[in-house]
Symmetry: C2
Subunit: 410 residues, 2 copies
Amino acid sequence: MKKASVISIGNELLSGRTVDTNCAHLSERLLSISIPVVSSYVVRDEVEAIVRSLDLAVGEADVVLITGGLGPTDDDVTRQALAAFLKVELQFQGELLEKIMVFFARRGRQMAIKNKVQAYIPAGSKALANNLGTAPGIMAKVGEKLLFALPGVPSEMERMFEESVIPELRKLDVERVIVIRKLRCFGTGESNIAELLGDFGRRGRNPLINFTAGHGVITLHIVATAANEAQARRMAEKDEKQLRGMLGEFVYGTGEQTLAEVVGDKLARKGKTIAVAESCTGGLVSKLLTDVPGASRYLTHGWITYSNGAKISELGVASGLIEKHGAVSEEVAQAMARRAREKAGADAAIAVTGIAGPTGGREQKPVGLVYVSVEWDGGSDSKRFSFSGDREAIRLRTALTALNMLRLKI
Amino acid sequence: MKKASVISIGNELLSGRTVDTNCAHLSERLLSISIPVVSSYVVRDEVEAIVRSLDLAVGEADVVLITGGLGPTDDDVTRQALAAFLKVELQFQGELLEKIMVFFARRGRQMAIKNKVQAYIPAGSKALANNLGTAPGIMAKVGEKLLFALPGVPSEMERMFEESVIPELRKLDVERVIVIRKLRCFGTGESNIAELLGDFGRRGRNPLINFTAGHGVITLHIVATAANEAQARRMAEKDEKQLRGMLGEFVYGTGEQTLAEVVGDKLARKGKTIAVAESCTGGLVSKLLTDVPGASRYLTHGWITYSNGAKISELGVASGLIEKHGAVSEEVAQAMARRAREKAGADAAIAVTGIAGPTGGREQKPVGLVYVSVEWDGGSDSKRFSFSGDREAIRLRTALTALNMLRLKI
């Protein structure tokens, strides 16, 4: 199996100011075309340090991807480092300069004299077009090994990777192919998923099943390895079917799907509408629903009734109900959902009330106590939850839980 | 100046499944105690690969921090790799096993036999206590150089770093001290900030002034280097004062402050309240305001009037106004803000209407067109914006712009 190594260049990546997301993106994309990344390096804008990391990377991998350091300023030294590593000179390429000048002219700007350095690439290497910026990429060969230098700006890097790198990598002899499918789950804990998986979770199994978790969303990765893509796909699909059977309604989607997307899709397909009434989540449930393009097809109304007054005046929750049970209670959550649905004339409603903390908790109603109520044409459901974590974690878990409760009902 | 190198260990970091946040965290913390990170490596759970990266790191840095690979499973090989690098044996430590057993007993669980391996550390090295998990850390010396192995779980790693690593690093001779102050700006572009900075932006200057930008927030980093902390602090403070004078109202805060925090703090100090009416941001403005603990002191009411019907029925926006100017118009934004403030009986209000895309744009009203209106006791202000980027970028930029408009008025 061909292997890759990723080198990220830039002082800003080493000061903690910028988190290197390029490496994770490249790792995932490379794995999806069956070239696992076996090492990654973050180095300063310094010729010697870059050459050292190139030595190491070329020793470990068949494909080396460098990101960053292709800009026009003095501290962008990836070009020089690559030339030093290849033991060649930098060569001026007239047609590259022309492209850079056109880039500026199209934007009605004058090219700065500094940008001229971007028209130099190591002798014998090939320039890769940058359709979103000025820095061309570079491709070079060392024996059978392939080196690519890409810009550090994520959008430019990703576009160049798709347009210029992937086609080159597809030409490589790949003896084994990896296909990955993701199943997204919600509504149970990691240990329960691990137990339900049983032998499917065994290390060394093919397809390999592993999972990652965050804010209650558990993602199963089905990683199938085979001699060709069709076979790997069949293996992954077979496992997906079995896992779906075992996990039942815990599985809410595949790939990168979010709960809000799945709920929105269900509503849109049925031509149904939804209203939201939020207290402790303060707009987060609505925000998640409207993150999805086209949410206006189903979301019409939302209320953030953060104060008791707002619950009474805007939703018409009875003040006696709040006095008797408190604003954080099942009764108030139910009333909020019912009234939101009525006022909006919607088919469904979600209501949330709780204590997100860090203050405001009491012995009877501690931080993390949350009531969620959902209403739909045909019924209603309310539940009490006790979430742990900080304010952000409690709010996000609450919003996702509310969306999941509605998903299971509509 | 002492230098550090960070090695992150784990296959999951190389598959794109997990982004390595430990390295960014350590880099920022180390820089704040005047030990810049000069390189970082991500390597597989493989003894040889770890030893190779240790060789390289020790050649470049005085302090090497390893994270991950200290768990109890077969693929956790950091202990073995460290022993191989140090050319010593792993030694069983009775008191470490005792601590691990106590950890399980306290949680009412039986220690798995697998966990026994965590009681082995390289001969001559020192164990570091883990108060949040089972894996002890390891400290070793190679000549004058310090090696630390820490757990990969961020919470465990961060705690061990603060409790056990920082005290050791403070013992090192540090010839020069770095103090960093951050100024947060909003309301102008990067190029204008660069121009305003003038000579302050010069490379090699001390304090060094550089900036990072995202979603319209520009963060200036004032990095002062001096022989002692008091002197570095004075230099940074002097620059901060001058920069504040030059940048004026673009500066909204310091450190990690958000616009929502600053707006909320202003409201709370004056005992004022706020209401929010959102269309295209769909709850995001309210979400940002309520991300801040204690937001209930000032935020009482919010409306998500995503449909025209909701704007009319819930806020009482005149239907004729929407017919005449369209829902995305200055007039409707103004009416939303005015009515939200009145209905909530609040001192201030923010209203937003626009087209977040990717669909729904027309020639006259393209994707990215946004109207923001703010009202406060004493006046009102409305503005038209044209933002670029995807749906998420347009929504976030809109919400931050709205908060910033209010900040400048209250």
